[in-house]
């Protein structure tokens, strides 16, 4: 028992790999068995995460449930993992969304075994990023998640999947090259990859490095980090891979892509960029704000102009993640102030919230697509009459996405804007324009799908949402409502980490 108690985080991290191995050993023909094994196995990390959540000591500072073991001594990198109030909500988001996505995957019939294996491996890759306390380990998990996602899009995606998957992986890998080089440089300079120790050494560097002033080297490394993470978030103008990847990915893939993978980039900003480059972040905060506002406005505009329902949701991700970046920029510009704390609380909560609502939206789009085999908004109309339960759920999730008070999106966006207002007044005001269009595109989407005259070709063709699909969406609805009404359940943890870190 003691061994298990001390390695709970490792269990969360590697249980999906174990489950993937078990699925690997099952006969490929037993599709039902494979689905249930994968789904049930993915519930265990969720259970353990909830246990960790309860056990987490909010009064204590620093990382908890830490584990450290020798891993790659030749370059002094260790297997060092742990969580704090920043990463635990992300771990919860991941372990929550993966079972739901697996449940949503029950409609996949092609090569189920390989699909489930890839999905479980993807979970380990994502979790690893959130729990790593070693730069090299962070990078390992950062990159390794690309592989299963690439194949999920490439093999189970839509018509244009080859182009989309290649764009996805090459964009992200190219963006990571600078990150890779910078991590190597940090490792060489610091003599270790252990994050807590790197922070000390790296932040106290003086004089020259590689014949250049330390400030110059740090500025270059800062941008290398920023570009890698900005592509993942994605921040305008690095976002172009996202609509392609989303449109082609299978529905559960989109849920995870929007729900978790985009958070990896934002998490990278919070965990690495702000702590490792405080001066640079402060200096270039204006640039970040510009990118954030652009993402908010252009994301909303682009979503506004879409005819494809899934693309609309994809661009809305760019729009919503813009608020996360805005919060991060505020923290960079005004570190240590109350505004920064507010904005960061909002940013982290927005990461969690967008994870819930984006996964929900993509799922509901997928439900419709599975029945209608089209995503063109102009083809629908009046579907509320045919699928009232589905319609109600779609309205609910859309409202969360729109930022309706009482639901989760309102809380986080309000916090970000409240924190940003005194620091970047003009930019925040401008981003409100984006918020306006967010309302517009969501309402247009709803109107075209659910309301208006009924498109008669769908009569007798569209079935109401079924029980399994309800089981996917209800937990999301519940959490959205809970966070909207009583955000304290998660904000307490986030706030503790944010106040300590920044």
């Amino acid at each position: 028992m003691d061994f298990i108690g001390q390695h709970l985080l490792s269990i969360i991290l590697f249980l999906p790999v174990l489950a993937a191995l078990i699925v690997f050993c099952l006969p490929a023909g037993r599709v039902k068995l494979i689905r249930w094994v994968a789904f049930l196995a993915s519930l265990i990390p969720l259970g353990v995460t909830i246990y960790l959540w309860i056990q987490f000591q909010q009064a204590e500072s620093g990382f908890q449930f830490q584990e450290q073991a020798a891993w790659f001594p030749a370059i002094s990198s260790t297997y060092h993992i742990g969580v704090d109030g920043l990463s635990l909500p992300m771990v919860l988001l991941t372990t929550l969304l993966v079972p739901l996505a697996l449940l949503a995957s029950f409609s996949i019939t092609d090569r189920v075994k390989t699909y489930m294996i890839l999905f479980l491996l993807l979970e380990t890759g994502m979790l690893g990023v959130f729990v790593s306390l070693d730069l090299l380990l962070f990078f390992v998990f950062w990159e390794i998640g690309l592989v299963p996602m690439y194949f999920l899009i490439n093999q189970w995606g839509g018509e244009n999947r080859n182009y989309a998957s290649l764009k996805f992986i090459l964009y992200t890998m190219a963006g990571s090259l600078g990150l890779l080089l910078s991590i190597q440089l940090i490792g060489v300079v610091a003599g270790t990859f252990d994050l807590p120790r790197v922070m000390e050494v790296w932040n106290n560097l003086q004089g020259t490095l590689l014949g250049l002033p330390v400030a110059t080297v740090k500025a270059v490394a800062f941008w290398a980090f920023v570009i890698a993470f900005a592509i993942k978030v994605p921040v305008w103008p690095f976002h172009t891979w996202l609509p392609d990847a989303h449109t082609e990915a299978p529905t559960p893939g989109s849920m995870i892509l929007a729900g978790v993978l985009l958070k990896l980039g934002a998490y990278g900003f919070l965990r690495l960029v702000l702590p490792l480059f405080p001066q640079e972040a402060h200096k270039y905060a204006g640039g970040l704000v510009f990118l954030a506002v652009m993402a908010i406005i252009f994301g909303a505009f682009a979503a506004f102009g879409q005819r494809d329902f899934k693309k609309l949701v994809a661009y809305s991700s760019v729009n919503h993640m813009g608020f996360v970046v805005l919060g991060i920029a505020v923290a960079a510009a005004a570190a240590g102030t109350q505004h920064a704390t507010l904005a960061l609380n909002g940013a982290v909560l927005q990461m969690f919230n967008h994870g819930l609502s984006a996964a929900g939206m993509f799922f509901l789009v997928g439900v419709l697509y599975e029945r209608a085999h089209t995503r063109n908004l102009d083809d629908f109309g009046g579907l509320f009459a045919l699928m009232p339960v589905y319609g109600g759920l779609l309205i609910f999730i859309s409202m969360a996405s729109l930022g309706l008070p009482g639901l989760n999106g309102f809380v986080s966006e309000f916090l970000v804007v409240r924190g940003a207002w005194p620091v970047f007044t003009a930019a925040t005001a401008l981003s409100m324009l984006g918020l306006l269009f967010t309302g517009a595109y969501i309402l247009i989407g709803l109107r075209k799908v659910l309301h208006g005259p009924l498109n008669t070709r769908w009569v007798d063709h569209l079935k109401e949402i079924n029980l399994r699909e309800l089981a996917v969406i209800i937990p999301l609805v519940g959490l959205i409502l809970l966070t909207g009404i009583w955000p304290a359940w998660i904000l307490g943890m986030i706030n503790q980490a944010v106040t300590l870190l920044f």
Partner: protein, 490 residues
Amino acid sequence: MQLPFLSIIIFSPILAGVLIFLLPGRLTRLIKSLALAATGVSLALSLVVYFGYDTTAGGYQFLEKIAWLPSLGINYLVGVDGISAPMVLLTGLVASTGVMISWGVSERPKEFFGFLLILAGSVFGVFASMDLFMLFFFFEIAVFPKFLMITIWGWPKTRVYGAMKLTLYLFIGSVIALIGALAIYTGSGLHTFDLNLLQTANFSFEFQRLWFPFVFLGFAILAGIFPFHSWAPDGHVAAPTAISMLLAGVEMKVGAFAALRVGILLLPDGAKYWSWLIIILGVINVVYGAVIALIQSDFKYVIGFSSVSHMGLVLLGFASLNANGLTGAGMQMFSHGVMTAMFFAIVGMVYDRTHTRELSKLGGMMKIMPFAGVGFIIAGLVSMGMPGFSGFAAEFPIFMGLWQKSPVAAIVAVLGVIVTAAYILRVVGQVFFGAVPAEFEKGLPGISVLDKISIAILAVFMVGIGIFPSLLSSLVGSSVQQALAVLGGV
């Protein structure tokens, strides 16, 4: 008394090869079994050596010494250190899997397996030699079987050209290296070929500066250094599958290994003086090799040029002359060897069934041979330097070493990584996914059990070292520390 592990590893394939030549050719089953048994023994013992190597003691272990030509100071002197032990294991892996995937060779199997075994034995000999003369001896034994095997069993269209080109390049390289080696022998005044003794010779700086390019470049030609790399893709493509595996997987490492052992460790000041040149050539290898691989239309040429690109990283690790770079180079030699053997094995399996290597004519092989497809993807991920696979564990320290030596080179060379990702994804997409071309739709045979075993063995090492890099880095690192003492702690 300890068993003479290394001698058994070296001579079990050689003796089996000679024995096969004495057997009547119609006993093909016996011949194949004998070949598999001999390489299997070598593989098993090389595992013993690998895991028996004491990393805390370091230095050369499993030593054996027999006076051979005492008047000239030549001894049969074998032993392994942390850099050569993985190379011996690599040779065991590639030789035994090479025999397994050649099971279907129907043309003159007796000569095929006979030569294959002699080739494998000679490579074992190079890696285990601690005597400069012995090293050359084993080095040259390999030339003859290579040439014959490419011309007889190679790809009919280019086998004569490929074999000639390869042999001439390697011959010229070894002659240049030999000149340097003789200069070292006479210049040391020690009357010995013992590499460890030669390390203590204290050559003057002028001497080292003059002779280092001979020794290093001579051997590096065999490692595919730019601009002397073109034999590698031509030779690899022309050769039959098992020989491609051995050539790219092991023979290129022979060149790199000898360049390190004879060039850098005997003439360290020369290495320091010339390291800028190696870095420039190495960077060209990495980036140029990858770009050329990207534009190939022939499946096998893609892999051939990928070897050029990856061997550039080994050279860069050497040239960094520090702990990280050398450790990474040692790991990369092993990782690349296993990876490229897997690549060539699978290219061979695809070709044997489709009789084409044109990328545009292939497709959908994942449906016909899923096991090979997964194997190829794993090797591809190693090649891309994907974390969690052995390639990353090797490349990362190389780049760290390069940062300390030449940051610009690190930044330029990393471009090779993204080009590599592009060409790997391209071939994976064209060969293994998509629709099966109409001409193959009526069904191609799947791969055999022995093929699957080979793929599984190689994959285990690529993934195992990727997840637990210290399995390899602890050995390599222990000897790198001693090498650094020679280099005067750069």
